[in-house]
């Protein structure tokens, strides 16, 4: 079984984003970028399936500018066998990414796609579901446990209010939630090895996919900021404030 793992290059999760002065977009110049944390979990899950003898090959792919090469190298250092970059001038919308993933998946004949449930930049939470739709595959989103059982997968999903166990027919798309696993660290020898692993590059035109946007970003706004309130001396003062000033109890 081949597993395809799409990964995205995003702002590092420890960095707070800044908005450009003209409000046209966020400012990512000179900002530390990393692999999307949910996608790192996806790579780890794929590697565990390979190490368990269930998967034969793990292929990482990314859709973005040439700079996305660095997250593919990260995926390779974490164990992926080879990687594919679909080189684009801009970050595409989730629907376009889904179409690119579908074409690569068809070419590679993968039977499982594992991807992050959302990217921490645009927080869309759409791509995995869209890929499943385009391929006509089953989908198991927000996974916290994955067991492959013959021609199906048993996936524990994090849903509102608790957990759900879903049995999906393979081939399938699984999207990862935070608690699925704890990704390993890339060791220095593996980082060195990753530099020699295959990285193929295609354009959207090579794959016959129209990536033109459907959505226009009109502007980016600052959210209303909360300001610090008052520091209180003791519990009595707090109860007093909640009763008489805020009137919430």
């Amino acid at each position: 079984m081949k597993i395809l793992v799409p990964v995205k290059r995003v702002i590092d999760y420890n960095i707070k984003v800044c908005i450009k002065k003209d409000g046209s977009d966020v400012d990512l110049n000179n900002t530390k970028m990393s692999i999307n944390p949910f996608d790192e979990i996806a790579i780890e899950e794929a590697m565990r399936l390979k190490e368990a003898g269930i998967a034969t090959e793990v292929i990482a792919m990314s859709c973005g500018t040439l700079a996305s090469t660095d997250v593919l190298r990260t995926a390779l250092a974490l164990g992926a066998d080879r990687s594919i970059l679909v080189e684009l001038e801009h970050n595409p919308e989730p629907l376009a990414v889904a179409k690119l993933i579908k074409v690569v998946c068809d070419k590679e004949q993968a039977t499982l796609i594992i991807c992050g449930k959302q990217a921490i930049d645009d927080d869309s939470n759409q791509t995995g579901q869209m890929v499943a739709a385009l391929l006509g595959w089953s989908q198991a989103t927000f996974a916290s446990e994955v067991k492959i059982d013959g021609d199906s997968a048993l996936v524990t999903r994090e849903v509102d209010g608790g957990l759900e166990t879903l049995k999906v027919l393979l081939p399938a798309v699984i999207t990862t939630d935070l608690r699925l696993n704890e990704p390993r660290y890339a060791t220095l020898p593996n980082i060195m090895k990753a530099k020699r692993k295959p990285l193929d590059t295609f354009s959207a035109a090579d794959l016959g996919v129209d990536v033109s946007p459907r959505l226009t970003l009109l502007k980016v706004l600052e959210p209303t900021k909360r300001t610090a309130g008052v520091m209180l001396e003791n519990v009595d003062a707090l109860i007093g404030k909640l009763k008489t000033e805020a009137k919430v109890i």
């Binding site: 989103t141 999903r157 935070l178 610090a228 309130g229 209180l232 805020a246």
Partner: protein, 310 residues
């Protein structure tokens, strides 16, 4: 122009987030239809048809809809989508799971978790964990939208008189099957609907102490229990308690942040709360920069004292 809202329910009760989603739909100033897909949903239909701003309730009742799996619900929604200008669902795990599948089947994009309707094609949604807001205009024929429930005040759940239309069911895709559900039971309100939330962080030290300290306070205030990602990662609380960018987005009247330092990712989930109380031993904790009321001191003294005096 007609707007379709997809109801969330458990085949018995219409979830309150649907009423918030209907409020967002109401801002489009068009006729609103509400889709109830499930199995043996008569009580949901009764609740749906009296919601104040619904003109028509569409009902699809079949066994394959009972667990609301994305594959089967998406087939159904796709089959009726073409007559609508907008299709909305709340951004709960049900909506987030299902709607992108419908959009892609129809070759349309989706706008996720809107917090404001600017016009019929322009919406505002948070990006970067709520650290920025994007104003987005869509050129698609049908606008597929998930709605952040806390950003819209619920419409009245009574006073309406919608007609009810039965739909024929789409074929079972047989792609997936729910074989188990562990929904945390209990008398506590749901996190995203609670008026008061008592949330704990890594400062609580252990799972035992998390419950020991926070449950009495939550009981006293009829509050939901929440947790920071750090507390969830440390195993103090289950993942569905998690408030933050990667967990639930909440906006209660009163939010207690207890032993929570205030990582960006947590603040993203609770910064819309009306009143925030922070209790922490570290007076430099970032949470105090956004709390309305702060108390510095030992949680294990302050919280029991608070419970005793409330």
């Amino acid at each position: 122009m007609t707007v379709l809202v997809i109801a969330e329910h458990d085949n018995k009760v219409l979830k309150s987030s649907t009423l918030n989603c209907l409020a967002a739909a109401g801002e489009l100033n068009a006729e609103i239809h509400l889709l109830v897909a499930g199995h043996q949903v008569s009580s949901v239909i009764e609740a749906a048809k009296i919601v104040s701003n619904v003109a028509k309730v569409l009902v699809a009742d079949a066994e394959q809809y009972v667990f609301h799996t994305a594959e089967n619900i998406a087939e159904l929604v796709t089959s009726i989508a073409s007559t609508y200008s907008h299709i909305l669902v709340s951004a709960t795990t049900f909506g987030k799971n299902m709607l992108p599948r419908v959009a892609a089947l129809l070759d349309m994009s989706q706008i996720s978790e809107i917090v404001s309707v600017e016009s019929e094609d322009t919406f505002i949604r948070p990006i970067y964990a709520g650290n920025a807001l994007a104003m987005i205009q869509s050129s698609d024929a049908i606008k597929f939208i998930t709605v952040r429930a806390t950003a819209f005040d619920a419409v009245l759940d009574s006073g309406g008189n919608a007609e009810v239309e039965m739909l024929s069911a789409t074929a079972d895709t047989l792609l997936s099957e729910v074989i188990g559900r562990e929904i945390s039971a209990g008398d506590r309100p749901e996190l995203t609907a609670a008026a008061v939330i008592v949330s704990g962080g890594r400062g609580l030290g252990s799972e035992k102490k998390y419950y020991q300290l926070l449950e009495p306070l939550a009981d006293k205030l009829s509050a939901a229990l929440g947790a920071s990602r750090a507390a969830v990662d440390a195993g103090f609380a289950p993942n569905d308690y998690q408030v933050g960018q990667t967990g639930k987005i909440v906006a209660p009247d009163l939010y207690f942040a207890i032993g929570i330092s205030g990582a960006i990712q947590h603040l993203a989930g609770m910064q819309s709360s009306k009143v925030i109380v922070a209790i922490n031993k570290d007076e430099d904790a970032p949470i105090f920069q956004m709390a309305d009321y702060g108390l510095v001191g030992d949680l294990f003294d302050i919280v029991p004292e608070l419970v005793a005096k409330l």
